[in-house]
Symmetry: C2
Subunit: 382 residues, 2 copies
């Protein structure tokens, strides 16, 4: 099918071979329902899920793996926190790089539940001025939500400083690490982050249908779903303890088996090595783009401030048209449009036209970058 896949910001492809095998192994050889019965297949399914939890705890430096709960995607995790923390009469702060997975649940809550929120405006290059964050604080601010890296510009936001601002005022902080878990060193517990949402199918190399949330020790969470947990079954109340409190219904056993394999690949390769490889690709792409005329590149050019997601536009050609051309003529997969993040596009001034986004994973090569650059040079001539 596609020869050059540069849409890893949507979902990483390919995954490590071990991920495919782990999913297939669970489906064919394990097959039981995690945490639901006492027979071998169910017990082994439970162990598969536990191994995924422990692998993630190892990657994130989390001492107690039961503080990591699994959801179907990052969106579910973000919704859970927003709904749990923001009671009527409270106020939230978000940045202008947040994804619709934060903006839409907040807007829904604001509409119905007497919750207010402010959007801290980031700069045109996507950077966040912490003074503005300070200015947005109100006495009833209960939550600050901050994306770790923008899925549009690739900017890394200063989550450590944001967590400090929040911590000083006993405000909960929610970090959306959908684009960073697995590709950036990340220690939420050390940074004083209460809630960190992640997805499994991007840079953690898991299958789609996986994601979750780290909940700091001593931090409460209300579940979004109530139901069977395989524990305290006689009670009409949800169990108080994690992870059961937030994992109702049968969990995605094969998906989590695959996620565990993805995380083990990262642990073995090393986040430093993964980041170094992405630096090479990203720097090569940005330098190549900047060397071309009639092209706008968004986000910071300095590697330290970003991850391997690069948004750009070719003057005079709408991003969907260019994406189609790249797909059809060059078999290059990128994503055009708004990337479910209109706030971010408004921030960088591309709400009307969107951008073309090339996003890397560890499996991309310099040749992929060169092919994209060559295709763009040719497209410019069309």
């Amino acid at each position: 099918m596609q020869d050059i896949y540069l849409d890893n910001g949507a979902t990483t492809f390919p995954k490590p071979e071990s991920v495919y095998r782990a999913v297939d192994h669970f489906n064919r050889e394990v097959g039981g329902s995690p945490g639901r019965s006492g027979h071998e297949r169910a017990l082994e399914a439970g162990r598969e899920v536990l191994r995924a939890r422990e692998a993630l705890a190892a990657l994130l430096g989390v001492a107690d793996a039961s503080r990591i709960i699994f959801t179907k995607n990052a969106t579910e995790a973000l919704n859970m926190v927003i709904r749990s923390v923001l009671k009527p009469g409270t106020h939230a702060i978000i940045t202008s790089l947040e994804h619709n997975a934060v903006w839409r649940p907040l807007e829904a809550l604001a509409e119905r539940n007497d919750v207010a929120y402010d959007i801290v405006q980031c700069e045109g290059d996507g950077s966040l001025d912490l003074v503005r964050m300070h200015e947005a604080l109100r006495p009833n601010t209960s939550l600050i939500a901050c994306i770790h890296a923008s899925n549009v510009t690739g900017n890394l936001l200063p989550i450590e400083e944001v967590a400090k601002i929040a911590c000083e005022r006993s405000i909960a902080v929610l970090v959306d690490a959908a684009q960073t878990a697995g590709r950036v060193e990340l220690r939420p517990e050390e940074l004083g982050i209460q809630y960190l949402a992640f997805t499994g199918h991007k840079e953690l190399f898991g299958p789609q249908g996986t994601g979750g949330l780290f909940i700091a020790p001593g931090t409460d969470i209300d579940p979004l779903h109530f139901g069977g947990t395989g524990s305290l079954s006689e009670s009409p109340k949800q169990p108080e303890f994690l992870p059961d409190r937030c994992e109702s219904g049968t969990t995605n056993g094969p998906g989590l088996a695959g996620l565990r394999a993805g995380i083990e690949f990262i642990l073995k390769t090393g986040v430093t090595q993964i980041r170094r490889h992405e630096e090479e690709l990203t720097t090569r792409l940005i330098e190549g783009l900047l060397a071309m005329d009639g092209l706008s590149v968004y986000g910071p050019h300095d590697w330290e401030k970003r991850v391997g997601i690069v948004s750009f536009n070719l003057d005079g050609l709408a991003s969907p048209e260019l994406a189609s051309l790249l797909n059809e003529r060059y078999h290059i997969a990128v994503r055009a449009g708004l990337h479910c993040a209109p706030l971010a596009h408004k921030t960088i001034g591309t709400l009307e036209e969107g951008t073309l986004r090339a996003s890397f994973s560890y499996f991309n090569t310099n040749e992929d970058v060169d092919n994209l650059l060559q295709a763009l040079r040719e497209a410019k001539k069309c």
Copy 2:
């Protein structure tokens, strides 16, 4: 691992070979994010999800496949409806066979949101007296939730009559078809059912991590999660149209590819044929159990009133102990305890001790039944 798997009520195992292949094919060969980009991998991923929706619409006799939305499991679907329909000041009716996936969200809502509910008591054999359902109606009743088949007793409940009672009073009806979709002829649209929740990983033969909800034409639903849908991205509001309205965040592409294959297996085999095979197994088991002394069998003995889920107890031996014995000595997988359905156990008088549950799928054989019966005869002598 296990030789005889009789825990299909928790999750079916094995799945048809085509299910394993479809999941692996999606992961290895498709790999894109459904509905998120315009390149080939993303488009093919979107088609995979559409095919799953259409297969399910064909199975359930639903005219408009977009009225079927996908969730991670039946629990999420049930929570969504309960939260959407029951506004403050309203009242719900459930049966005493409901799973914790209905009882717990209702109890959480009752605790916080000024929602009341009544439980209609079923008989000791699990049957439902509709007169009692009539008696439970109140002027502010907004929802009747009814399980289609109990996951404890195997009873089929009269959902058509329940839907009529609800329809006459413009009350919404929610059917929990977790145990019946795929194994019983089911036409929610014809029956006047507003909401039908299903799971993918039981008798639909899909992988874990899949499930969903049928929403009747003209019936509203509030989403439980808000976020990116790949549609109307510039808006902070969730799209109004289905399925996007209720499918936020990246969906489980590989899981749904597998679910589609599972449903196609059912469509090819025929629900009638599947039900006939289960009748043979279930009748054989019940007759064998009834022929033994010192054994209680729950639920109706008449096949027309049930599905292939059989709960029983051996006098003088706790169900977890017996399950362990069957697992360790005979490599037979069954499920002991309360099956996340304490209301059902209270109904049949087994809340204290639980039951042993043997649950079939199309892949079980008469030999499986005979082996279980032989093991039980031997266990009795221990």
